[in-house]
Structures are given as structure tokens and as C-alpha cells.
Symmetry: D2
Subunit: 334 residues, 4 copies
């Protein structure tokens, strides 16, 4: 059994606790949260112990891996300490909002050859994953155009958004990684945005809608559409267009019921409403991937570098938004 | 150019006039209707002449073919006269409501080796036709089960239904022919029905809903569901289930628009509303088939015998409805 | 916690063990199977004890409920003993293959006011359940026609089928219950069948394909299509047609991926392949329903009488198949 | 009857000849093409006269309207002469490849208050039109994001592309107009492109794939994806996302047949293959709109200014492609 310590007992922490709980080869040993009651509640529910301090869990030699689902500013410190303690790490996105801090973190831990996975769960969504595998199998020839639509059902509250790092680092970062999953390295980014959803988002200096255009190193064009609000539910779709065909992923429904009546036909019920519904299988497959990597001594993917690159794309998008120009990446990289 | 005379200038007569008009190798020469104003109106619209009598059109040696779209009781007489005059005939269904009369008609004309086509337009619907061709091409292996759903948007008025011959001879007859198109000869018929749509239908001694089960000579089972009323529009679907797959035909929409909002997702607009919309291409392909048969001297299909057999199935269904027993056909046929 | 004993550790027994395991208010105490190794394996996997005899489990006063997932001939005996021991019972379908034996069983236990649920899991499928609820809410007006398509991916082996009771009692019985879920009491049954799938089924005197037509007491017509083999996977669909609309349930896919290429468009991947995939949520909801009924002291549904009625419909269908006549039910019932 | 003269007897000229032919209130009087045989063939097919010169048709006082479907460089001259002769004009897109020449043309004819319609047929596609009307009716609240996918089945030959004006002026121009149909005036354009389809397109200095991002004056973001090649057929889709819902337009199939077999499920046949199939109803509705405008003395839409603006967007996109910057429009317009 792989023994886990979980940092952060909020909404996303619960998702990971549940994934660990149902995995046949995993065990939740410790949970930690600065809000003790939150830690105690999860500890009780899953039969784990609430750690008095983060170090109490990190220093437990019986712990194999830690999941970092705490507030973003704590990620780098916890990740660094866990790596130094020899633990495998699953770190929620983003690693940090500051790319320089992320790079310093890597400088500190690189020599330890750490096992670090970043929580870009969309890669493990069964539909997206199938598209990835079928492209690799040649189903659509060469990938030429990738269209990602990603819209949340409703904007997070002001308090959350105020420290979120903005749309690109908080929400689009999933789509940046998903794009990289399909097109590989990105060499150009263009972004534009709008404020149409909620005034408080504009007040924060953030946008609530965006379109991003990217070019991959192999020439594929990629396009992302975001909105903080979709009244018909969580809108998570993708089209991969290639020289020999197209694979598309549609939204998923609660049931397969359709209604036809005097005013409409074949109307479906609501979509799976948010990430806890749509991406539950993805979170579980993500954890399974890490556990298998730990067991086999291999590197999990997406890794630290992928977390770094998605953040770099978010920064590039923000620069493009501000300058109205295409931002080129990697010119100095060989 | 194939020159046509059209008998009957009602709703279905107009459909045929229009098909003749747009066909590049056909010409509407004469139209006849006992209601002179109806004939004059169509004659004027399509540049044809209104015949003072049916014979005036039948006896015109320049006429190649007649379309019989008049009231059902007139079919046999017109058909017989047209065949004797050497014309090719497209006769709307049913040939007659009385099977014995149909058989006597055939006795009279058989020796003339007539070119007679019966207006079972569904065989020419592009979707049904594609299913037929793909079954023949082996796409689903051996056909084992055929499910036909056929529902009208709203019941015809009492006056029409009173002389219609009842649900099986008036409406299901299309489905009987469609079933024969796919499964060939039918050896068993079972039928049941209900009155749930309109009281005046029950008052007429007719049913407004039915389920029919049939068995083809090759062992395929076939099932038909009918209703005289479907609030969501003309419901015309088919599933052909075979040993290696299934081909299905869904309803067709006015447009490809779909709406998702806070209460539903992917709702389509109404279906093509009735036979004039759904089967316009079928009526045109039907006429083209006849014209090509005339030009090539071949026999069109479905022919007189198909019209006879569909009526025999309607009679068998009625017998089954009354006896609650399976009716076996062809026992005396060798 | 509701403590369960499980009888039968085969494929379906595992499904129930898993449902009990993941239910937050249930606990698997005992498992029993005449094949001791099967019992030991499940006991180990779920932390239960393997009972040396069925009675050892039934007589344990700490056990609240038993799940009977053993061979059909053992159902009545186990059910009777469990009821006498005061346990709630979830009995897999059918209660027995012999209607007289079922009725004798009820005579023996009726006075005990037993809590017995029969495992007609389809009632708990989220899609079917939604249709049921929406009909009750008036979404389609009065239900007039119900079409059920139910096809297994591949026939069970000869050994299984030889003691299965035949297509109607083994497979259609689920559809009989599903029909009753929607149309209530059934007053007429007609059935026909065919042998097109596998010779060994015919050798057993059984059919492998069937069409059943029924009439509900309130006048709704119902139609069931069955096959023992569907190459495109488990085919489980339903259409409820009413005076004001239609609700339909389609098959469900592994993913929402669609492929368009030079030879086809919008092709979906395979359907959820068999009942373990399609009906996992149904099995869990079924168990939850029983647990809630036990906790609240209410009667679970479908109950013993529903298990009896579905079997009676299977017998009626068999009689109809043999006589080619409609079989009327309940004429002597008041 | 509105009498038409048609200039240009190539592929698109035939489409218009056909639309005129089937319109009940239109008549094709003259056709002209520098290739006399092409003119004679269409003249014969539709019962029109082949004009010896363009002027012979323009100067015929019985002609009400001209359709300009000739080579792009001839458009401005023919349009100007037709307007001076008092004719209504339907001019195929683009008016010209040179925006300055378009503006000079307008300077010359503006005082004549001409009736000029530009052939942006997509506005008349029943599905796109329905979306437009339903947005106006409030079905999705305020329009926030518009996604247009527009891909041709296969690239035109080198000879055509060499004088086409490039992807934006030749192909995307339809999408620019469609975007304006929905979002109104466009204030920002960004474009990027790629060469992945055919080397000869790159050799011509043109791109074969593109992504365009635009912002409307009211804040809506718009995104266009183009490719010169789609192996699964003509790909013409649109999504209009708003504050209260989304309306989408999918591709349209030849038939409603779907195939499920051992390797896939619900596979549809090919899409309507190219503009002659997909947009036939649009071309007819476009012509009907012009005829109605002539009859009523109203201005048809899209008009000359719309043709001018779509070209201006194409030029802006080209500028953005070359500079990697957002191009702002209308800054000098008041």
C-alpha cells in the first residue's frame, strides 16, 4: 500500500481523499489543514490521522507520497520539504503564481531527482485521453488544429478570485496544459479577453472571458475559448482536427434521456454540472497513474516541468493581452 | 419527354404535379378532377390543360403515363382504362380497399403486361433507401429484426377517416410495404390497437393506435408502431438490426440548430412536419424511377403485386385485431 | 450500519458485495457460497467472514439483511428462512422459475409481513428512473405507447441457458418488470420468437429473439424487442410516447469521443458493454433504496408481488408463443 | 416577373441560373460569358438568350436585375454599368480584391441610390438564419462569444488560388460577413495562419489554415477557424454563446442513417459535401430576398457597404498576420 499524506482539506482536498480511499493500493495516513476542524472531519471520514503540523506528516517515514491541495502560496514550500524528505508529490495546479519562484524551486530540488506530478487532471479524463491515444494511433493523421472550449458554470466568489492569479493562471492553465498534451511545445501565444460576466471581476483587474490562440512547434494551431459563466453547465469540449479526420469530445449528460414535445425535439437534460462530476474519473485515474509510477520507479507525467510550462504560457497570454501582440516563447532555448 | 396525365388535383395530386414539373424529362400534359376549379388551378400553375373528362386525357395518344391521385374508389377503374390505353401508370395507394376487387382488376389487365407502379413513396426516401442498399451490401449481416415507428402529426378529419378503410389500410399500408421492402414476403401477422387519440375515431369503429408484429419468410421479425397523433411532429423512423450491426433512420429536422440553456441542453427544433416536407425527395425519386422504367422498357417497383400484398397484410392485421390470433398468410400459395 | 449477509459469490454476488462495500451505511458481515473458495475470496476482498453454512449467517442476530444472489432453485428456501429469521431480503430475479412455488412461498411468509425486495435493478437506472419521474410530473401527458429494446451482447453459454427457464423467464423478465414500472398492471400479452443467433439455443428448446406486445390496464400499449446477441454491445433503450410528448433513453458510451473521417462522420465508440457497466449505478441505487426502507421501516419496491407478476407475464408470454394467441391476465382477479 | 441578366456562366453562375429558374416570380432573360459556349449551354438549359456582349444585356430595358458571377476583376465595372443602367444588382463576393477600388466604385454610384446586394449567401442558410432570429428574440440573452468553423473539403487548384486574393479575401470573407451578421461592427482583428495542406499554396505566398480572433463594438468576442481541406467534407459550423444559453449549428448529413457495429456506434454518413449541397437553400433564399426587395422598393441586405466591410476585415487580417499584432479598425471613422 502506498501511504499518503494530504495537505489541504478544502473542496479539492476532499476529492483527493476520496480518490485515495477508493484506490485498492493506497491508504490515507495523514491529513493536515491550518483549519483544524477541516482536517479532523476528513481524518474521521477516511480513517486517517489529523497531523498537528505539516512536518509531522512529512517526517513520518511510513509515508510514501504527499498530495498538496492547500492554498497556492504554500505549494512551493510544502513541495520542497516533501521532496527533501524523499516523498513522491502530487501538487495541485498551479505550482505557484510566480514563475521565478517556480524556477527557484526547481533549482533547489532538481538534484534530488524528485518524483513530482502536477495535478492537471484533464489529461486523465477518459474522453480526452482516448483522443490523445487515437491521435497517436494515427486515427486523424497529422494534428493541424486544436479547438478547446472551457467554461465554468459560474464565477468563483470575489475572495477566491482576488488571490487566484487571474483567469489565465487560475482557469486557462488547465487548457494550456491540455493543449501541450496534444500539440507539444508551444512557440507562440496570443490572447484577448473581455469583461461581460460580473463587474466584481473587472474591479479586480481581471477578465472573465478570453480567447487564446497558440502555435505548436510542429505547426499545429490551437485555440482556447474561456468563460467564467455558462448557464447550461460546465462546458468542457475539444476538437482535434487532422489531415485525415477529426476527433471531438462533447459534454456529458447526467442521463441519456431526451424529450421531444410540441415546442422542441431531442432535448437533453443538464450536463454534468462541475468538475467534481465531470472529472471524478479523471482524478482517480490521475492518482492511479502516480501510484503506478511510484510502484514502478518511473516518472509520472505531467511533471514539474509541465507545471512550469503551463504557467509560462499563462504569463505569455497575460503579456499578449496587455500588448495586443503575439508573444514568442523559447527563442533562447535550444 | 414523358408526357403525363394527372387524375386528382387534391393535396397529393399537387405533390405529383410538382414532381413532374421539376423533372427534366417529364411534362404535365393533362390534369383532371371532378371539381373543375381544382383542375383549372393546377393546370394553370403548371402549364397543363384541364381535361373535360378522364377519357379525354387517357385517349390522348401523346400521353405516355398517368398518375392516379384521385379518390380511392376511382383507382381501379382509371387504372384499368389507362392500362388498356397502353399507358404506364403510377397509382396512389391503396389500389382499392377491397382485395377481391384488386384481384379482379389484375385478372383483367394481367395479359396486357402493364407497366404499373404503386405509390409507396417511402421506398424512395433517401434514408430508407440507403438502409436497404447497405443491408444488401452486407453492412449488418443477416437482417433479424426490423422496427418501424410511424406516427402522423395529427389525425385526419372525421370525413376523411370515414372512408379511409381504417388505420391499417389507410396509414399502416405504407409500413406494410416498407416492411416488405426489407424482409420480403411476410408469413405471419399479429396486430393489436387502441383508441386513445380522438373519440370520433372510435365512433367510426376504427382504432387510432396500433402495434403490429410480423414474421418474414426468411425468419426476420418485424414490428410496427403507429399513432394518428404525435405532438412533436411526423415521426418516421426505422431500425434494421442484423447479425453484424444495426442501421437506424432518425427523424429529420428543419435546421441543424441546437439550444442549450439553464433548463436543458442540445434541444433541436421541430421535425420536418409532415409528408410534404419529409417525403418530397421521395416523391421525386419515385417519379424518376417510373420515368426511367418507361424509358428503358423495364418494370417499375413497387408494382401492382406489391400494392396487392400490402393490402392483404392490412386485411390480415384487421383479422388479427378482431381474433387476437396470429394470422398466417400464403398457406394456399405455392 | 445495516449488516448484510450475501448468499452466492458468483458474478452477480460480486456486484452486490461491491455495492454494500461502497455504501456508507452498510457493512458486509457474512458471505456464503457452496463453493468455499468463491466465498473465501469475496470475504477476504471485502473484509467479511465466510459462513460455513447459510444458517450460520441467517441465524446471526447482528445481521439485518440478506442478499440472495445464489442459483435460482435456492432462492425460495433461502428467502423463506431469512424472512422467518426476521431479516430484510433482497432477492435476485427470478424468485423461482415455478409460479406455483412462488405462490406457496408467499403463503408461507405473508403473515410475517416481510421486507422483501426483488432485484429488478433497471427501475433504479438513472435514465429509466428519470423517465418514470418525468412521466409522473406530466412531461408527456398520458402514456400511450412504451417501446423497450433489450439485447444482450452475446448469449450465455449452453450450461447457463439450460437451467435458465428460457428467454422470457431469464432475460425478458427484466423488461416485463420495467414495463410494469411504467404502465402498471398488464392485462394482455402476446409473444413471438425466433431462432437466429445460435443453434444450441434452439437445441435447448428455447428461442433467442423475441417480440412481445402487451396492453396495460389503463390502455397503454407496450412493445418489447429482445435478442440474445448484439454485436455493437449491450442494447438497452426505451421510448415512452404520450399524448404530449416523448421521453427516450438511448444507449450510453464509454466516452463522449466522436470520429469523422473520409468514410463516415460522428462515429461514437462502443457502448457500455454489459450490465456490470451500464447498471452499476442502478445496483447501487437499488441497495440504497433497500437500506433506506430498512432504516425507515417502510416497504421496499419492487417487492415480492412484483417478482411474482413479472414471472406471471413470462409464463403468459410462453403460453402465447405456443398458442399464437393473445393471453389475457387477471380476468379472475377482483 | 423580375427579369434577370446573368454575367458569368461558371460553377457559381449555374447556381444562380438555377435559383432564378425555380423562383416563381423570376425569369432568366440573358446570360453572358466571354466563353461563348458556356453562355450558350446555360442559355439553352434555362430558356434564356446568350448575349453577344455584356452591354447587350445591360441595355435591355426589359431587364430588371443583373447577377454578377463573373471573374472578380470584372465585378466593379459590370456593377457600375448595371447601376447606371438602373438595374438592381446581385454581385458575388468579393466586390473586388482592392479596397480602394471598391471605395472608388461606391463614390461613383452612391448618388444613384443603387440597389446592390452582395452574395454572402451564408446569411440565408436556414440554420444560421434561425440562430440570428433566435438571438434577436432573446433565446440566449446577450451574445458574448461566437465561434465559426469553416473548412472546405479540398483546396481549389493552383490556377484558381493564384488570383483569388488569398485565403482571407477568398474564403474567410464569408466568415467575416457571417461574424458581422451576428456581432455587428468589428473593432479589432487578429489573425494567424499556417501551411499544412498543400505546398503549392505556400508557393503562392498564401496560407491554407487560419485562426482569426475579432472583437465586436458591443464587446462580443469572435473566433474563426479555417482550413482549405477537410477529409470528412464541408465543415460549416457555428456556436453563439450568450449570457443565458448557447445556440449551435452542426453539419448536415446526406441522410439520417446511423450505423452501429462491432467497432463503432451511431456512425453517420458523409456530410453535405460542398456549397452546392449545403447552401442550395441559402442561394435560393438570397435570390428571393433580392426579388422581394426589388418588388417592394426596399434595400436588400447584405448590401454594398457589407461587401466593403468584409473586405476591410480581410485586409486587416492580412495585416495582422504579417505584423503579429491586433489591428484596430474604425479609429478614423466617426
Amino acid at each position: 500500500l502506498i501511504r499518503f499524506a494530504l495537505f489541504g482539506c478544502g473542496r479539492i482536498g476532499r476529492v483527493h481523499a476520496d480518490s485515495i480511499d477508493v484506490h485498492p493500493r493506497a491508504e490515507l495516513a495523514w491529513v493536515y489543514d491550518p483549519i483544524e476542524s477541516a482536517a479532523l472531519e476528513i481524518a474521521k471520514q477516511y480513517g486517517a490521522a489529523a497531523a498537528p503540523t505539516a512536518d509531522a506528516a512529512i517526517d513520518d517515514p511510513s509515508v510514501d507520497a504527499v498530495v498538496i491541495a492547500s492554498a497556492t502560496p504554500t505549494h512551493v514550500d510544502l513541495l520542497t520539504r516533501a521532496v527533501r524528505a524523499g516523498k513522491a508529490v502530487l501538487c495541485e495546479k498551479p505550482i505557484d503564481l510566480d514563475l521565478a519562484r517556480v524556477d527557484r524551486c526547481w533549482t533547489e530540488i532538481a538534484a534530488l531527482n524528485p518524483t513530482v506530478m502536477v495535478g492537471f487532471n484533464r489529461r486523465f479524463d477518459p474522453s480526452f485521453h482516448e483522443v490523445h491515444d487515437r491521435i497517436a494511433a494515427g486515427d486523424i493523421g497529422r494534428l493541424e488544429q486544436l479547438i478547446i472550449v472551457s467554461r465554468d458554470p459560474a464565477p468563483a466568489p470575489r475572495e477566491y478570485l482576488a488571490t487566484s492569479g487571474g483567469l489565465f493562471r487560475d482557469m486557462t492553465i488547465h487548457d494550456f496544459d491540455l493543449a501541450r498534451f496534444f500539440v507539444g511545445e508551444v512557440v507562440e501565444v496570443y490572447a484577448t479577453g473581455a469583461n461581460v460576466v460580473a463587474d466584481y471581476i473587472a474591479d479586480l483587474g481581471d477578465i472573465d472571458s478570453a480567447i487564446v490562440v497558440m502555435r505548436g512547434a510542429d505547426g499545429a494551431l490551437c485555440q482556447i475559448t474561456n468563460s467564467r459563466r455558462s448557464v447550461f453547465g460546465y462546458d468542457q469540449r475539444l476538437e482535434a482536427f487532422g489531415s485525415e479526420g477529426m476527433l471531438s469530445v462533447g459534454n456529458q449528460h447526467q442521463t441519456s434521456v431526451r424529450l421531444s414535445n410540441a415546442t422542441q425535439t431531442e432535448a437533453a437534460p443538464e450536463y454534468l454540472s462541475f468538475f467534481l462530476d465531470r472529472y471524478t474519473p479523471a482524478y482517480r485515474a490521475e492518482l492511479d497513474h502516480l501510484i503506478t509510477a511510484i510502484e514502478q520507479g518511473s516518472q509520472p507525467s505531467p511533471g514539474f516541468a509541465d507545471g512550469r510550462e503551463a504557467l509560462a504560457l499563462a504569463d505569455a497570454a497575460l503579456k499578449s493581452l496587455r500588448t495586443s501582440q503575439t508573444v514568442r516563447l523559447r527563442s533562447a532555448v535550444s
